[in-house]
């Protein structure tokens, strides 16, 4: 199944274009997206939605931090497009539909899972970035 990483790559690289990532870095931003999305798919389903999104976001953030140091760019350049494929847009949409159709019980369930998935993306970024901050502060000047 090569098509899934490819979709993650396309999603990230097009958003790199929308947010005006420097032209030379777009390919790498796309790769970060592919890695994050593949990690999200490879994480066993038994970890639940939160676990899989968390692992995906963490993989994307680790790649972004490494690339930012290697290529002397701000981390945001890779991180923003990289986590885009993990954003729980589908769940948010279902939440909205549920409220519209007055199915409040289902709407609240998907609201909670939207918020938790968004939180998992944040947590993945925080864990990965913190590791790199600790590493940088023990070594030399941070970027």
């Amino acid at each position: 199944m090569l098509i899934q990483p490819l979709i993650g790559f396309v999603g990230a690289i097009t958003f790199a274009y929308i947010y005006r990532v420097p032209a030379k870095q777009r390919i790498f931003a796309g790769l970060v997206g592919a890695v994050g999305y593949t990690m999200f798919l490879l994480t066993p389903q038994s970890w639940g939605e939160i676990g899989t999104v968390f692992m995906g976001a963490m993989a994307a953030a680790i790649c972004s931090e490494i690339l930012a140091r290697r290529r002397r760019q701000p981390v945001l350049v890779f991180l923003i497009p990289g986590v885009i494929p993990l954003v729980p847009g589908g769940q948010a949409y279902l939440t909205m539909l549920g409220f519209l159709q007055k199915e409040y019980a289902e709407a609240f369930v998907s609201l909670v899972s939207t918020v938790l998935a968004a939180g998992a993306v944040a947590a993945g970024i925080i864990v990965a970035s913190s590791i790199f901050r600790i590493y940088s502060s023990t070594k030399h000047a941070r970027r």
Binding site: G8, Y17, R20, P74, L76, I80, I84, Y93, I125, S130
Partner: protein
């Protein structure tokens, strides 16, 4: 003095993290020969205070209003300030490059809309849509970006831009679903993803992480409000469509 302020302002309006703005101000101020540099940045304003060796203190306040996401500008200023503090470029050159950056980055390019359509296609596939849905979502996504780019020329609030974009996407998807065998929800979903406030979301997380609670929360609020506005726009059309 103005150089430092200008660099900080550009970073801030391009969507950089607060610590990067303050760090750049400090680095450039010191490189320009000031003994003490204090910078305070929030998403809506910038305060800097520079202490000259003679004892004078210069203070400037800059209110920043509209932000446009431009990661290329952040990257450019980042390396520019480094080169300046290493003495590789002169203050005059920095000034010219900053002016060029302010001019550049026209957000309304046709290419951007086409590529954005590609993004909408990818998202429809991620959310489980078929190829037909993806193609229509791509077309609608490009159209939505065009609509939002048109609105940006006028003083339309971001929230309203997002709501109108959501309405446009939903209306087009529902209309096409009457003619073609596509799922309107999946098509709308892919198309509205092009408006995702990704920069605000990610910057909010990084700001909160570095202890910038004020900017972190206000950027998180921006991301939330924009997302809710998109959903509201879609919801208005769907309920008018009588579902």
């Amino acid at each position: 003095m103005d150089l430092v302020l200008h660099a900080g302002e550009l970073l801030l309006t391009s969507g950089a993290e607060i610590y990067r703005v303050e760090e750049t101000i400090e680095r450039m101020g010191r490189a320009a020969g000031f003994v003490q540099v204090e910078g305070f940045a929030t998403p809506t304003g910038l305060f800097i205070s520079l202490h000259a060796p003679g004892g004078q203190v210069y203070t400037r306040v800059r209110r920043t209003r509209h932000s446009r996401n431009n990661l290329a500008a952040i990257a450019a200023i980042n390396s520019l300030s480094r080169e300046f503090s290493e003495g590789k470029v002169t203050a005059h050159e920095v000034k010219q490059q900053l002016a060029a950056l302010t001019e550049s980055g026209s957000p309304h390019s046709l290419m951007r809309q086409i590529v954005g359509g590609g993004g909408a296609m990818a998202f429809t596939l991620i959310f489980g849509g078929g190829w037909l849905e993806a193609i229509f979502a791509g077309l609608i996504g490009a159209a939505v970006l065009t609509v939002v780019a048109l609105l940006q020329r006028y003083p339309v609030p971001k929230v309203l831009q997002a709501a109108v974009g959501g309405m446009a996407a939903s209306a087009m998807a529902l209309g096409l679903a009457n003619v073609f065998p596509i799922h309107p929800d999946l098509t709308t979903l892919g198309a509205v993803m092009v408006m995702t406030p990704g920069v605000a979301m990610t910057t909010a997380i990084r700001d909160l992480l570095s202890g910038e609670l004020l900017s972190g929360l206000s950027r998180a609020a921006e991301a939330l409000v924009v997302s809710v506005a998109i959903a509201t726009g879609v919801a208005i059309v769907i309920s008018l469509g009588g579902r």
